[in-house]
Point group: D2
Chain length 258, copies 4
Amino acid sequence: MPQPIRVTVWNEFLHEKTSDVVRKIYPKGIHGAIIEGLRESLGDGVKVRAATLEEPEHGLSPKVLEQTDVLLWWGHAAHGKVRDAVVERIHRRVLDGMGLLALHSAHLSKIFVKLMGTTCMLRWREAAERERLWIVDPSHPIVEGFEDEYFELEHTEMYGEHFDIPPPEELILISWFEGGEVFRSGCTFRRGKGKIFYFRPGHETFPIYHDNNVRRIIANGVKWAAPGGSFYSGKGRNIKKPLSPIAGGHDVDESLHR
Amino acid sequence: MPQPIRVTVWNEFLHEKTSDVVRKIYPKGIHGAIIEGLRESLGDGVKVRAATLEEPEHGLSPKVLEQTDVLLWWGHAAHGKVRDAVVERIHRRVLDGMGLLALHSAHLSKIFVKLMGTTCMLRWREAAERERLWIVDPSHPIVEGFEDEYFELEHTEMYGEHFDIPPPEELILISWFEGGEVFRSGCTFRRGKGKIFYFRPGHETFPIYHDNNVRRIIANGVKWAAPGGSFYSGKGRNIKKPLSPIAGGHDVDESLHR
Amino acid sequence: MPQPIRVTVWNEFLHEKTSDVVRKIYPKGIHGAIIEGLRESLGDGVKVRAATLEEPEHGLSPKVLEQTDVLLWWGHAAHGKVRDAVVERIHRRVLDGMGLLALHSAHLSKIFVKLMGTTCMLRWREAAERERLWIVDPSHPIVEGFEDEYFELEHTEMYGEHFDIPPPEELILISWFEGGEVFRSGCTFRRGKGKIFYFRPGHETFPIYHDNNVRRIIANGVKWAAPGGSFYSGKGRNIKKPLSPIAGGHDVDESLHR
Amino acid sequence: MPQPIRVTVWNEFLHEKTSDVVRKIYPKGIHGAIIEGLRESLGDGVKVRAATLEEPEHGLSPKVLEQTDVLLWWGHAAHGKVRDAVVERIHRRVLDGMGLLALHSAHLSKIFVKLMGTTCMLRWREAAERERLWIVDPSHPIVEGFEDEYFELEHTEMYGEHFDIPPPEELILISWFEGGEVFRSGCTFRRGKGKIFYFRPGHETFPIYHDNNVRRIIANGVKWAAPGGSFYSGKGRNIKKPLSPIAGGHDVDESLHR
């Protein structure tokens, strides 16, 4: 029997402390709702813990990260408060194979921006409008089990294009918004040995993480992003001895080089 | 008649000052050889200048960058000496549309690494071995004019896979090395509105930038990377008024949000 | 001065003969409107001709195709009447480097389906609804000159996802439709040495090809799809003599092979 | 417990009947060696059967295909003998979600060529030369378990670039050949709902399918290509009733349309 996927759900966990509206929707925190969804969908297939901004090291010590297969990230109001040293540590772990799910406003998190290399900015509007997410890659494991061409969320914050990310390697979902915009809402990226899934839905004042379709996508995303693959080196390797013979070869002045 | 493409060739320009070997190959500096090649290929189609590490602001003042359509980058020994503020400035200009050609050891330049989000590390060996560059996208303007399936360089430094970059959007050239490795030697990326071309060949102790095929690729790359396209915003845009009418729409507690 | 791009605009040209509505919108045929747009935008940069279904060989003799740099295709009601031999001929020319712009209902043309390898089917509705095309790759030459994040068409036929095409190499435009769907409306593909651009807007009963933004995209598409690049072989090549020496090498029983 | 993946290994099965050399290497046929490898690697995780050219319907009746999750294809000398009706049937099943592994000379099989839309031609040489396969996507499940940056095959037929395929969606392996060529040896494609993996190694006169690394890649490929995902329609869908209300909307003359 395969080992459970070790998941850490990171939540900024600020709105829930200061706003009655948010606390009413997410009494156990946004992370609590996400964790509940993962346990429902994946059962023994996952071992989940939470981490939050105000814990020491934001709850992401080297040991916690070492024991994390997939990290979920939710942040909104306090991206700037995440310490750079912790961001570096996460970055290294992603390159080494840890999966990352960047949720909703995590598009502006330091870790996502660092991995993308772009501004990750977008259009947005809060008008509680309808969103309809269209599946444009029906072969993908992240949409496993969906029996229609789309699913809907009744009241959402709008995110619109142009979303300033690198062209995603896989584009799985495109959102339609009632107010007139579209958005690439489900995008995957590979960086180093790590797999990254950006998933748009989610907000602190809408009960998005109680929605069954959203929970299913997140659960599928965790399975997809779990580490795998082959040897990876993020280090330079000076291979002095050729693998195959070199005919001739000029003298090389090694003094010039590292 | 179209305006000439304004090109800035940036060279670290250190090896040429300290090594007789390098100075003999590149008496006018590596930048001098690259500029000569661009002028030969593109004539009045380009307006070229040089910039180097030891100039004030590394020769890359805001004004110079503002007047640069395509920036070529050659660095090797002193990546760490390039000031972060200048890197930020270049990064912003790339996102705003300036083309970037990262040449050879520029794979570890701060600007390239920042744009990629990965380590950009690789295997390497200096044994003056043969490299054969195979064209894998014959439709691409960067290989305009090549009449064979490959071209060769007799003595080169080897760079080998795994090259730790994001999957390139376009893969144009793959190198074969005598000693046994392969390498994705011609790769394109889009970041923001900017077009980026990584081109592997080049070294300070081999006369790579005197080679006609290498010069042709660089000239084609400059033309490909020249700015174009549409409106780009690297800023968040709060669009309060929907473009199309929203039916109903719940009350939104704006106090929660920026 | 560069040679003009030789463009052939192919139109099924049936609706215009049988319907007063269509003839009123396109008195010179759909091809006539497209040609007018190309001449306005590109002037001496193009040399344009038309070809239609009911001409001998559908107007696409080997000689015509040989003299065509970019082929535009508009068909709707009579895809099945296009002869397979002509489709083969076009296919070969695309692989050899001729650009192809597949317009609107050309998604089901034999040539496009053959190049894609999928069904190319989609959702559709005729309700004269609003379409808003969002630019998701502002760096691309196909959106050269657009000064906003989107453009609109007031009354259109809807095409919706899932559009059954291979993942496009470049995704440039995504449409929003009033009635609730989204669509990947500007997609590029490379096949052999040929560049292919699928562009959604267009219909026989809406004046889409009189729209300035649509005309600009088509003109930009023609420039982008014009032939270029390097040597291309669509043939097998048995290279008996290695380029580099092979150590040892077992006896090979050639009798087994072609 | 998950259901086993139902695999059909298709082999042309001609060389083995006519050549002592081939029969000695593959006494149970090439399919026999592949099946042996799959059973070793995947055990109860797969249910494997064989199908061959000279069986009725080439062993690929509608019922067999209906019961196949992943089809492996090996053919070389008799691509032209595979009946078009069977190719159509396979094509439809791939679009509907059946995985396809195209092995070695299957690059010229009718089904692979039809799915790609290009000639799929390449350079080739039979000189029993060394091949070294470099992993360029260490995150990919197809290279699960490889602990080095490459693996080697001592004596192989060479396949070289340019390989005339569409740009692969994922490029996992690049081969180096002793005689001087490179090749994109592990490539994935999505068509409809089906996942396709092209894997280069393999030949009738070399014992490639007895190699443990090759067997591991094929087993990983079967797992990766197994069906999944969401609802898929390869049919046109006329959605007369909008999902969201349309303001106004012109009269549409339905008589013009299907």
